[in-house]
């Protein structure tokens, strides 16, 4: 009897285990291999999903998150995958392959707010379906103007939610950039001329990076956080320089009579792309971060390119083109398209998301600008809520 019961117990146990684990283990099951089709430019075509079971804010946040990660909510008959779940109490959600009903993802989330749990779920879905890094839990920083000549640095979630002022200096600030997750680097006029500072978010400590005679501005932090590229006019003209992140080891990279502007780094940290008026109207150039000869980055069809931003996957340089209006454009970083730029939408100063798919940018008249999100392959745009009078110069934490 005892032996029998022991056996029965083990048999039941084994059955329950196998029954319970099989579907749950399906997330890693090769049976549900995900078809990833790409568009002409090599971007992943949006994966059609149907989202159900969520309501109100949870529903809209989830759909918005997914949109900028290449996963698009569509009517059920057009969907390839089903996303079901609920956000009552805590967020619970499931991702199912529609034809086979195989479960790819099945999770619950605790801690944080419902919004944060939804963001975590969205990231899990995007990673499962696209293989790209999730961006729903990322942050951005931007400049918010409260009046002419008075602006502050802000940080917020990537979708503009939960914005917080980082500075309260009542002066002009400009071009904030992230160094890791806990430090910003930006320009401030607090001490008179524009100078570059680092700002440690958790301690509040601020230190100068560049405060040379003349102008110090447009700092760009290298991907590994060890260096900064910037524009200094100490030598009598705005030129491109690099230095260590504490400002030491300064090195001049350009020596032109006309102005250089707004550098950015390639994701491997080897190259710098920047704008220069060396040949009259602005052109984009690239040069080795260790110094060397600049080469023109052709942007055919997109005149007067400025403010480049190199995508984290290294493939694209996004920039602003100006004719009568500003246009957000991209061009392959290493040739391709024969140097023809692709015009995406009206706006200026793009900043790539970590997934090399979405861009943050701003749009609008001077001193009344608004931030927007752009899904590059589909050109879908979502305008974000405005803080104070004018928002510009977004920079996505990578």
């Amino acid at each position: 009897m005892n032996k029998l019961s022991t056996l029965t117990v083990f048999a039941i146990l084994a059955m329950m285990l196998s029954a319970a684990i099989a579907p749950l283990g399906a997330a890693d099951d090769e049976r549900y291999s995900i078809t990833k089709s790409k568009d002409a430019l090599g971007f992943l075509k949006p994966v059609p999903v149907n989202v159900s079971g969520f309501t109100g804010e949870a529903d809209s946040v989830l759909k918005n998150d997914l949109l900028f990660m290449g996963v698009q909510h569509v009517p059920i008959d057009q969907a390839q995958y089903m996303i079901t779940g609920s956000a009552s109490g805590r967020v619970e959600g499931r991702l199912t392959d529609k034809p086979t009903k195989g479960i790819l993802l099945n999770k619950a989330y605790n801690g944080g707010s419902t919004r944060q749990q939804i963001h975590a779920f969205a990231d899990d879905i995007a990673r499962a379906l696209t293989g790209l890094p999730g961006i729903a839990q990322t942050k951005m920083t931007f400049k918010a103007e409260k009046g002419v000549g008075r602006s502050e640095i802000y940080i917020a979630d990537f979708d503009g939610f939960g914005s917080q002022a980082v500075t309260s200096d009542n002066t002009i600030v400009a071009r904030p950039e992230w160094r890791g997750r806990d430090m910003l680097v930006y320009t401030s006029y607090k001490l008179g001329s524009p100078r570059i500072f680092s700002h440690h978010l958790s301690s509040g400590a601020r230190n100068p990076i560049a405060q040379h005679p003349g102008g110090n501005y447009s700092a760009a932090v290298s991907p590994d956080g060890s260096k900064v590229a910037m524009i200094l006019s100490k030598g009598g003209s705005p030129d491109l320089y690099v230095a260590n992140i504490d400002g030491s080891g300064l090195k001049q990279l350009t020596k032109t009579r006309e102005s250089e502007s707004a550098p950015c780094w390639s994701p491997d940290g080897r190259m710098i792309c920047y704008g220069s008026r060396e040949r009259g109207a602005s052109l984009l150039f690239t040069l080795p971060a260790s110094g060397g000869s600049p080469r023109v980055l052709s942007t055919t069809g997109a005149p007067t390119p400025t403010e480049p931003d190199w995508s984290p996957d290294g493939k694209w340089v996004a920039f602003t083109s100006q004719t009568r209006t500003f246009q957000i454009c991209i061009v392959p970083a290493n040739g391709g398209t024969g140097g023809d730029a692709i015009v995406l939408t009206e706006g200026e100063d793009p900043s790539w998301a970590p997934n090399s798919r979405a861009l943050l940018f701003c749009r609008g008249l001077d001193h009344a600008k608004q931030l927007s999100l752009l899904d590059v392959p589909t050109k879908q745009v979502k305008t974000l809520g405005r803080i104070l009078e004018s928002n510009s110069q977004p920079s996505w934490a990578k």
């Binding site: 319970a20 002419v148 917080q164 400590a205």
Partner: protein, 220 residues
């Protein structure tokens, strides 16, 4: 003993099965959201400036040195006098506390063509007047040159263009005999338009270089 073993096994089975029933409901794993300070980020809408440090107020910007940061090092053999043939910039720290007079040369504001930083021939006369007055009437005083742009052009592009415009005015004034060390420059890019309009007339006024007379503290 055997009974005890059965009870033990039964307990194990019950515990496991209840856990598995939980799983069957649909959860294989619960993911904790790490490290978010609730309330700090969770509330939406425009926020008031708040402290991101430990202290209560955002610490003031410091000028370095006392912070333990390595003083900026221009590196061995770095000759600032040869940068692109320009005249090394003057540091505005030298003029902290000097008294500003924006009226003296208000009529000598230099205007620029769209997307250009060269001094137009028609504007040179203004700078000749400024240079003469500085030499005749304002010995020991300084001149701050502010470079501005219209709104066409991205912000950092305009910051560099405004800088280049200020430098062009400075170069001309040095050529006319003024001391470069008494000519600090500052760029405002498109931050401070003279005219808030969004048309050609406003843009024309906004592409400019303003000249501000600086007098040492205690002088008149």
């Amino acid at each position: 003993m055997k009974l005890a073993k059965s009870v033990y096994l039964l307990t194990v089975v019950l515990t496991l099965s209840s856990a598995l029933v939980g799983c069957k409901k649909g959860l294989n794993r619960t993911t904790s959201i790490p490290g978010q300070r609730e309330g700090a980020i969770a509330d939406g809408g425009p926020s008031q400036p708040r402290d991101l440090g430990q202290g209560g107020v955002i610490p003031p910007l410091n000028r370095g040195n006392e912070t333990g940061v390595t003083p900026v090092n221009t590196g061995p053999g770095f000759d600032t006098t040869k940068d692109g043939g320009g005249i090394a910039a003057a540091h505005d720290d030298k003029f902290t506390g000097w008294i500003e007079n924006r009226d003296e040369f208000a009529n000598q504001t230099v205007h620029f063509d769209f997307d250009k930083s060269n001094i137009k021939p028609g504007e040179v006369g203004k700078l000749e007047t400024v240079a003469r007055k500085m030499k005749e009437s304002f010995k020991g005083k300084a001149l701050r040159i502010e470079g501005h742009c219209d709104e066409r052009g991205t912000e950092e592009y305009n910051r560099a263009l405004g800088d280049r415009r200020a430098v062009s005015i400075r170069e001309k004034l040095v050529q006319l005999g003024l001391d470069p060390e008494m000519l600090p420059t500052i760029t405002f890019g498109e931050e401070k338009p003279a005219d808030p309009g969004h048309d050609d007339a406003a843009w024309k006024k906004n592409r400019r270089g303003e000249l501000i007379l600086l007098s040492p503290p205690g002088s008149n």
